[in-house]
């Protein structure tokens, strides 16, 4: 059995939260756990901003002629909603918050490989966010989060360069975080912690980090080229000077497709941890699930052309990308089957994290299957550029990634804060989110098939009913997201104090107090059991 020393539970115990005080101890911290909290606050801030834009959009779309703003303003709203949510919420979310907090704990180390690089990553994130906020406040950007030229390079009169610089800078935060994780997982695993004893969350973070480090630099050079084109009209994307706007699309999607796997793989890692804990069983097919994460990361780099099936590109290119896009779905399907099988003959309890994880499985399944409609060339011709696409990616990113993130926050909250939250409220919020989410986005599949294009500030009256349904759902969804903000903050002061392992979970992070001391472990643990050794706990005389 593990030999980690258990700290006696004394009220005045020294944790990473109280070991030092003052703003300098936070803003100049090198402790990965504090940096994770800095990210938590920042991305929550951006989530509220991005979410506010979404609320305004959905209110606006209740009327066919637009209920709230001018079309130019609407165009800025959807642009900034996309940019903020993708680059400043979803991509950092699990890696920068949960990953930063947990990776060292889960490998049994005292910190990440490069703590100063970690703090630098956060500052880079903030600077990039500042540029983006500036562009929003100074009048906004209206080029879509996809920045397609020639509109973005020549025709748009908005702050394209500022926001391109902002996203460019933030990309380095992602690259450095990924680099840090790769080195930490390779070089700092505790004695006895072999690769196939790693929790699946770490496999997921590892695969995600591969994408972050290999893909994000391509986005950087793409935005760099676009900014030069916008500022100096050098011709690289301008047809009248011999340039090709489709080159931008290839470069952009070469990153932005793998980016969606940056957003989903960590959530899948969370789901593995939560399912194992709340079914009290080792994940069925552990090695397969581990390999499937890496397979998704690799295959994800080969499918970018499916965003360009209707651009007039060669039919043969379309065939290849379509085939590969179908293949990348297979590892995800395998995960879903393995998670479901984990429940078989398990011992299942339904605390909030489990509700989020189960919700993830259902909604991700739907979102993933609707991706097949888009991988298929003949149907993609009809569905591309419509609300079907919007529904598909929101099922994956909101129904999937955000649920995974919230599930992870709820699962590790006692470890992070040392407090427990009221499960009844958490379960209620999860249910509200699930209902609100489906009401918001399911009608959009139908709208898309009927032909309503995306990014429309006004629309033919026949689409109104479905739009109103979607907006109603968005209101409910918004309420569902606000509730955890309230009780989680409340719990930090008034929640019951959490013990080291309130869920009875396996994993090194649970063998240290809640919250952990700054150095994580009194002594570096030695690992001599497999991951998810839940049945071995039965033999354990001394519990947590």
């Amino acid at each position: 059995m593990s030999t980690a020393t258990l700290e006696p539970r004394v009220h005045a115990q020294r944790t990473y939260l109280n070991a030092d005080y003052g703003w300098k101890s936070w803003l100049f911290t090198l402790d990965h756990k504090r940096i994770a909290l800095l990210y938590l606050v920042s991305i929550t801030f951006f989530f509220v901003i991005g979410g506010s834009f979404a609320v305004l959009m959905r209110i606006h779309l209740t009327e066919p002629q637009g209920a709230l703003v001018q079309p130019e303003t609407y165009n800025k709203l959807f642009t900034l909603h996309g940019i903020v949510m993708i680059f400043f919420f979803l991509i950092p979310s699990i890696p920068a918050v949960l990953g930063n907090f947990l990776v060292p704990l889960m490998v049994g180390a005292r910190d990440l490989a490069f703590p100063r690089l970690n703090l630098l990553s956060w500052y880079i994130f903030i600077v990039g966010g500042a540029f983006t906020l500036y562009s929003a406040i100074a009048g906004g950007v209206d080029v879509g989060w996809t920045f397609y030229p020639p509109y973005s390079s020549i025709y748009s009169q908005t702050h394209v360069t500022a926001v391109a610089v902002g996203v460019f800078i933030t990309g380095f935060s992602s690259i450095l975080t990924g680099l840090n994780f790769i080195v930490t997982i390779h070089k700092m695993r505790a004695p006895g912690l072999t690769w196939f004893r790693l929790p699946l969350f770490l496999w997921a973070m590892y695969a995600t980090s591969i994408i972050m480090t290999l893909g994000t630099p391509v986005l950087a050079i793409t935005l760099f080229l676009l900014a030069l084109e916008h500022l100096f009209h050098v011709g690289i994307f301008s047809p009248e000077l011999g340039g090709d706007p489709l080159l931008f699309q290839h470069l952009f999607w070469f990153y932005s497709h793998p980016a969606v796997y940056i957003m989903i793989l960590p959530a899948m890692g969370v789901v593995s941890e939560v399912i194992a804990c709340f079914a009290r069983k080792r994940i069925f097919g552990y090695k397969i699930v581990a390999f499937s994460s890496v397979a998704i990361a690799v295959l994800g780099f080969l499918v970018w052309g499916h965003h360009m099936f209707v651009t007039g590109q060669s039919v043969y290119a379309g065939l290849i990308f379509s085939l590969l896009s179908f293949l990348v779905a297979i590892p995800s399907a395998i995960k879903v089957f393995n998670w479901t099988s984990t429940l078989y003959k398990g011992s299942i309890s339904y605390e909030a994290p489990m509700l989020y994880a189960l919700g993830f499985i259902g909604l991700f399944t739907m979102g993933g299957l609707t991706g097949l409609f888009l991988a298929s060339l003949a149907t993609d011709v009809h569905l591309n550029g419509t609300y079907f696409i919007v529904a598909h990616f929101h099922y994956i990113m909101v129904g999937g990634a955000v649920m995974g993130y919230l599930g992870g926050i709820h699962f590790w909250w006692p470890k992070i804060s040392g407090r427990k939250y009221p499960n009844a409220w958490a379960a209620l919020a999860a249910a509200i989110v699930f209902v609100g989410f489906n009401l918001t986005f399911f009608p959009q599949f139908i709208l898309g098939y009927l032909g309503m294009p995306r990014r429309y500030a006004f629309y033919p009256a026949e689409f109104q009913v479905l739009n109103v349904m979607s907006s109603a759902g968005a209101t409910i969804l918004g309420v569902g997201y606000l509730i955890p903000l309230v009780y989680l903050i409340w719990s930090m002061r008034y929640g019951p104090v959490a013990e080291s392992n309130p869920w009875g979970a396996t994993g090194l992070e649970w063998k240290t107090p809640s919250p952990p001391p700054p150095e994580n472990f009194a002594e570096i643990p030695v690992v001599n059991e497999e991951a998810y050794a839940y049945s071995a706990q039965a033999q354990e005389a001394t519990g947590d």
């Binding site: 020639p150 047809p239 079914a279 399944t365 003949a378 098939y449």
Partner: protein, 319 residues
């Protein structure tokens, strides 16, 4: 005619086949969603924790199951891939004898030009039952020509031609949408495709023609721009004869052979030094900036229309 409440009209020759694939995909989606949901619900109830000390027996996995649930999805997606690709392939080339119409997109309107010279804005009249091929370009940013009822869509790019085709099977008026975000009034860049019975279409055409077909207009541009002074039809001019060129292979000075399609004609007018016919010198001036998109379209239509006479091969005279 609406088949289902949540379905657009099936108003083209391919709409039904696209919908069939769509329904298959929907069925698969519903099946697997239901399978997962129900299985999870069942396990959730059957294996709910009954006592706090329960410790389930560990189950490592099952290779046969992994093979099964890898093979079946792979098979299913293979079917989807073949079905979708075949349909896409079949629909990719317009049938011979299609009605050729030029479409130009610009912020924020659609302009169409019929072979007879009839022009339309934000509307496109087409006859029932005849394939129509659109040759499209943009005057500014990327747009997208989308007709939900026909299940067709193609991006419209500046500086090049893209094309799509459809055969209307139903009389009526159908939505035309721009489906690639193009700026402030992207949502307003919509119009109608008006499908008429063939005789109604003919009367509509006759009703407002400017009296000059698109090819006649093209011939006028050909003369006025001086093309005819070099591109003599007997092949003795400074430039190659254009008789019978369209759609056939052309040998270039670089040794390559390309097909003289819309894009080649357009490029040769705007960037004449890009692809030079073997045996000729790079002396053609460029017309970039001197011709409107409409004039370019007219020239392309005119050169398309030139007969199948064989040009005389000119003796090679390298500079």
């Amino acid at each position: 005619m609406h088949n289902l409440p949540f379905q657009p009209d099936q108003a083209s020759s391919i709409a039904k086949s696209v919908d069939n694939l769509y329904f298959f995909l929907t069925a698969i989606t519903l099946f697997f969603t239901a399978l997962i949901f129900l299985t999870i619900f069942y396990f959730m109830i059957k294996y709910r924790r009954r006592s706090p000390d329960e410790r389930p027996r560990p189950i490592e996995g099952s290779v046969p199951l992994e093979v099964l649930w890898t093979a079946i999805p792979t098979l299913l997606v293979a079917v989807m891939f073949v079905w979708g690709s075949t349909l896409y392939f079949q629909n990719s080339e317009a049938p011979k004898g299609s009605l050729e119409i030029f479409v130009t997109g610009k912020q924020w309107m659609w302009k169409a030009e019929h072979p007879e010279g009839q022009r339309e804005i934000n509307e496109l009249h087409v006859p029932l039952g005849r394939p129509v091929r659109l040759t499209m370009t943009s005057e500014d940013v990327i747009h997208d020509f989308f007709v939900p009822a026909f299940r067709v869509k193609k991006d419209v790019l500046p500086g090049r031609y893209t094309s799509l085709w459809f055969e209307p099977t139903q009389v009526g008026t159908f939505h035309l949408f721009c489906a690639q975000y193009c700026g402030a009034f992207h949502a307003g860049m919509i119009g109608s495709i008006v499908v008429q019975e063939p005789d109604a279409y003919e009367s509509w055409l006759a009703g407002g023609t400017p009296g000059e077909s698109i090819e006649q207009a093209g011939e006028k541009v050909f003369q006025a721009s001086g093309c005819s002074s070099c591109h003599l039809s007997d092949g003795t001019g400074l430039g190659p004869s254009l008789l019978g060129v369209f759609g056939h292979p052309v040998h270039l000075t670089t040794g390559e052979t390309v097909t003289a399609d819309d894009g080649y004609i357009r490029e040769s007018i705007l960037q004449p030094k890009a692809k030079i016919v073997a045996g000729y010198s790079p002396i053609m001036p460029t017309f970039q900036g001197q011709l409107t998109e409409e004039q370019l379209n007219n020239l392309v239509a005119y050169i398309r229309s030139l007969g199948a006479a064989q040009p005389k091969a000119k003796e090679a005279a390298k500079p």
